[in-house]
Symmetry: C2
Subunit: 230 residues, 2 copies
Amino acid sequence: MNRVATKEDGDGGRCQSGTKTRILDAAERIFTDKGFRGTSLRELTAEARVNIAAVNYHFGSKEALLQAVLERRLVPLKKVQRNRLEMIRKNAQAASVRPSVHGALHAFFGPMISLHDSGQAADGFIRFLGQSFSEQSDTISETFLRHIEPVQILLFDILAEALPHMSHDCLSWRLNFALGSMIHSMSMDHFPSLLPNMVPSISYATMTRCMLDFIAAGLEAPCAQYPSPG
Amino acid sequence: MNRVATKEDGDGGRCQSGTKTRILDAAERIFTDKGFRGTSLRELTAEARVNIAAVNYHFGSKEALLQAVLERRLVPLKKVQRNRLEMIRKNAQAASVRPSVHGALHAFFGPMISLHDSGQAADGFIRFLGQSFSEQSDTISETFLRHIEPVQILLFDILAEALPHMSHDCLSWRLNFALGSMIHSMSMDHFPSLLPNMVPSISYATMTRCMLDFIAAGLEAPCAQYPSPG
DNA sequence: GTCTATACGATGATAGAC
DNA sequence: GTCTATCATCGTATAGAC
């Protein structure tokens, strides 16, 4: 039996019955709506039209299922991010100029928004991603670390080139603030307007541009707390 | 029997046995460490040396206990924030100048950090606050909305005075980004260094100054997405 | 009024039949 | 691979002792 290797079932193309895919799709949908801990395996398996024990058989545990749901989107996402970031770096080196802060940020944050706005099944995944960020689970933390950290180090290095006068400590903190802005914005849909009558009916693309302006200005600001590098 | 009214037991001074206080203290401690959903009532009541049913008797439910834990710190916190913000506004009006962005931000964020650095029992509450922000619960969302929104509207109004050229839509978004930075930083302790070898051994006061620089610059940046107010 | 012991339904997980 | 039966544990509810 040949490997198909094209079906996105998270099983490397070995799946036959589509059970894993149905579970993954249902999980992504319900987790986004009700949250990971707010979703019971019984409800999830009913929605996916599989047996209750199927999740534990195919994934090992409910938490491992969450990890699988994350990785199915995270792996292609980080690949796009890495390619774009490396292109930013290459182009800057070729032109013998410093990379721009805005360009680096756009290479990093852009693919996330495209994923959201793409209209495919990945819709809502960004919201789900933002929620998962605050899951208190070592497994999930490690999943994020494993997939996102390398890309983030790349972003950090490019930003360090773009901002040569800034100490690495300060840049680390600020990159973290920037991440917080994005994560919060992504998961904000479920937090009913913490801001006074905020306009929710806006495209993610517009919000992203607004966010990049905000973050870029924050990153480029003079730093009074960490005057010396190291 | 006279009211003592000084004991911080969350019961208006009517408590005698200290059961409620012990539950609140234990809850704040364990919730901070293991998260709300990661803490069982059995473990919590064992730590507080009370009966399992005590939580439901005194608070009604586990979720209502979380609400009580939050409100015990949130109520005095928002009072300090409101006073400081109103003083900022009064001083600016008296001097017939616009309030400063930095001053408004410091009035809002400063008390949170003081609460953390105060060395009293409230230590770690900020971390707990950051985590609670991402709880998917209508009760918790409403608690935040009820206590934080009024202060936030005040902050919004002052910032709108400080930045008269900025549209309210843009300011709303940016204030939300700023909130995200703070929330993420506050709950970051439990997320093991998503950033490459970031310096964790830093005082919250220093981090706060760094954060305020970041946020202030982001808020003050020219806005290309919302050129016209309204 | 407080506190205790106990019971209930639902959950995530697992073992074994098919 | 799939299913049923079963388990320990969870949050919650309540009756009754002090």
